[in-house]
Chain length 219, copies 2
């Protein structure tokens, strides 16, 4: 199965977003890939044709077994290159994503397996995410952190540690719910407040109390 870089990016995004969820929405993929929902629909048809995703109009998208297999290969490549950049070329963990984003599309099993060996067959990348082995086996993904301690820019809300209705009400009003993707725009040291942004809405700031109680995972 030979994929273009664009197809690989879609497969990888669907894999990232699926995680637990039964299906992934068109909009979520569009947001993740910084493209338009119409483009996602177009690509969904192609990937369905190739039997890499299950897709029915308006019903969301999920990977097939084959799609998942390929996704794991791509994730493996990406994370191994991140290791290489950090361990061997002395990049810092926050600089490597973009470059790995390009390197991951170089398709050569031999290359990747030799690279893995060269790096000492690492099992996690510099961000703590697990690296699938050559057979596609991957250990459990990172556990959750509270939003005030998270380091990544793009996060997904995975739970709340305080179930008080006042917090839930606040979150609801702000449009934050389980699975919502947020971008951290800025962290203000003087009061540990965090400026975040959701999908199409303008950015807003939340207090430390709130951010301590939102559990997130990196995407």
């Amino acid at each position: 199965m030979n994929l273009t870089a664009a197809e690989e990016n879609y497969i990888k995004s669907i894999y990232k977003l699926q995680d637990g969820q039964a299906v992934v929405s068109t909009n979520a993929i569009a947001y993740e890939l910084d493209t338009k929902p119409a483009s996602v629909t177009d690509m969904a048809k192609k990937l369905k044709e190739k039997k890499l995703i299950d897709y029915e109009k308006y019903q969301g998208i999920s990977l097939t077994a084959e799609g998942r297999r390929l996704a794991l290969q791509i994730v493996r490549r990406h994370r191994l290159w991140e290791c290489f950049l950090v361990d061997k070329l002395a990049f810092s963990w926050d600089e490597v994503h973009e470059i790995a984003e390009e390197l991951e599309h170089v398709r050569s099993e031999k290359l990747i397996n030799r690279l893995s060996e060269f790096l000492g067959n690492p099992t996690t990348d510099p961000h703590g995410d697990p690296i699938p082995d050559a057979q596609g086996k991957i250990s459990k993904s990172k556990q959750l952190v509270s939003l005030d301690k998270a380091t990544a820019r793009r996060l997904e809300v995975a739970g709340v540690s305080d179930q008080s209705s006042s917090l839930l009400e606040f979150l609801h009003a702000k449009g934050i719910r389980l699975g919502t993707q947020i971008d951290v725009i800025e962290r203000y040291e003087f009061d540990n407040s965090v400026e975040i942004k959701i999908r199409n809405q303008p950015a807003f700031t939340i207090s430390e109390q709130v951010s301590k109680n939102i559990m997130v995972k990196t995407l």
Copy 2:
């Protein structure tokens, strides 16, 4: 100047083929890139637009100073990756070209400069070709070898060591002249004859006597 992978491949080929020559022909580029002359004409218009080549209809193609600068960057990336693959990942010199062909398109100066440093700032790649430095300085290209000793598959005729008219006549009849690109199809041990192929013609075999007297360089 941001180039697509396709544009980079054209620039690199033109650089390779130019070497001494004043201009490069549409056909030569098409052959080098395994594409059609019509496609080369199309791309020539784009690259002229971007001021990377000088090009007038029917008059051949040559790099501008800016084009040459970019070509050297691409060559640098390609050759450094080849070094990496051979020195660090234990590939053999004949396996690396294809993979480096993909890696070379990952555009990040920082990446390439760090890679160079990591490899000990090598000045030649595993095939003996010189690696341009970060400023685009490159030492003279490899000296010539006789065809019977050459190892690469694709070669360019750069001279003959025997100037006898019988040899020149033979070469002329076969369509071999200075600058002709040839592909080595097979080398036969029992008599050291070499089967070669030129552009659009069927393959043919030449004897050891002849191949000893054809001086070639790798492209």
